[in-house]
Amino acid sequence: MSTPLRYQVIHVYKELLEMGKSYPLGFDYFRPRLHKAFMSQAHLQDEEKIKEGIKRAEYVKKEIEALYYLKKYRKDLF
C-alpha cells in the first residue's frame, strides 16, 4: 500500500476507535468488529479501491455520529 494512503487508513481507523469508546453496546463489542471490518479489506492493492474503502469508513463515521444523536430517543433498543 502506498504510504500516504496507509496513513489515511490508520487515521480513519484511529478516529473510529475513538468514537467507539462510547458505543451503546460497549467498546468491547465495537472493537473486534471494527478490527474485522478493516482486516477484511487488508488485501486491497488498487488505489481506487482503497480510496473507496476510506470513503466508506468516513460514511460509517457519520452513521455512528447520527446514532449517538438519536440514541436518546431510542431507549427501548439500548
Binding site: 490508520i10 481507523y13 484511529k14 472493537r31 478493516f38
Partner: protein, 139 residues
C-alpha cells in the same frame, strides 16, 4: 459584672506568658527561614517540588509502564513473552491494526501525541521506550 472582671483578670494574667512564648519561638523560626532560603534550600526543604520542571522518566520506568499496558491488552497471545525487547508482530502476535491500538494506548498513558509517521515506525517495546524517552513532555 463578675464574669467580665474575672475574664479580664485572666486575660491580663495570661498575656505575659503568651508574649514570652512567642518571643521564644519567633527568633528560631526567623533564623531557620533565613538559613533555608539563603543557603541551600533544596537540601533543607526536600519536600518542595517544581511541577513545571521536566519529569525525567527513567528508561526502566517507561519500559515497565509499556509492559503493564501490554499485559492489559487482551489481544496479546502469550503474555509471558512480554519483555523489554518484545516485537509486537513477531513475538506478541499482534497485527498492524493492533499495533496502532497499542501505540494509541501508549499515547494516552504518557499523555503525548505521536505524529502518524513516527507512530507507524514503532514496532517493538524497545522502539516505543526509546521514543518516549526522547520526548521531553512525556509523563
Amino acid at each position: 459584672m463578675f464574669r467580665a472582671a474575672a475574664a479580664r483578670a485572666l486575660r491580663v494574667a495570661a498575656r505575659p506568658q503568651f508574649t514570652q512564648q512567642i518571643n521564644l519561638v519567633r527568633p528560631q523560626i526567623a533564623a531557620s527561614l533565613l538559613r533555608n532560603s539563603q543557603t541551600t534550600p533544596s537540601l533543607l526543604i526536600p519536600s518542595i517540588r517544581f511541577y513545571s520542571a521536566p519529569a525525567g522518566l527513567s528508561r526502566e520506568e517507561v519500559q515497565g509502564r509499556i509492559m503493564d499496558l501490554l499485559k492489559n491488552f487482551d489481544k496479546v497471545e502469550d503474555p509471558t513473552k512480554i519483555s523489554g525487547q518484545a516485537h509486537f508482530a513477531n513475538d506478541l502476535g499482534l497485527d498492524s491494526l493492533d499495533t496502532v491500538e497499542v501505540v494509541m494506548a501508549i499515547e494516552e498513558e504518557f499523555s503525548i501525541e505521536i505524529p502518524d509517521k513516527e507512530a507507524d515506525a514503532i514496532h517493538s517495546v524497545e522502539q516505543a521506550t526509546t521514543y518516549i524517552c526522547a520526548q521531553p513532555d512525556a509523563h
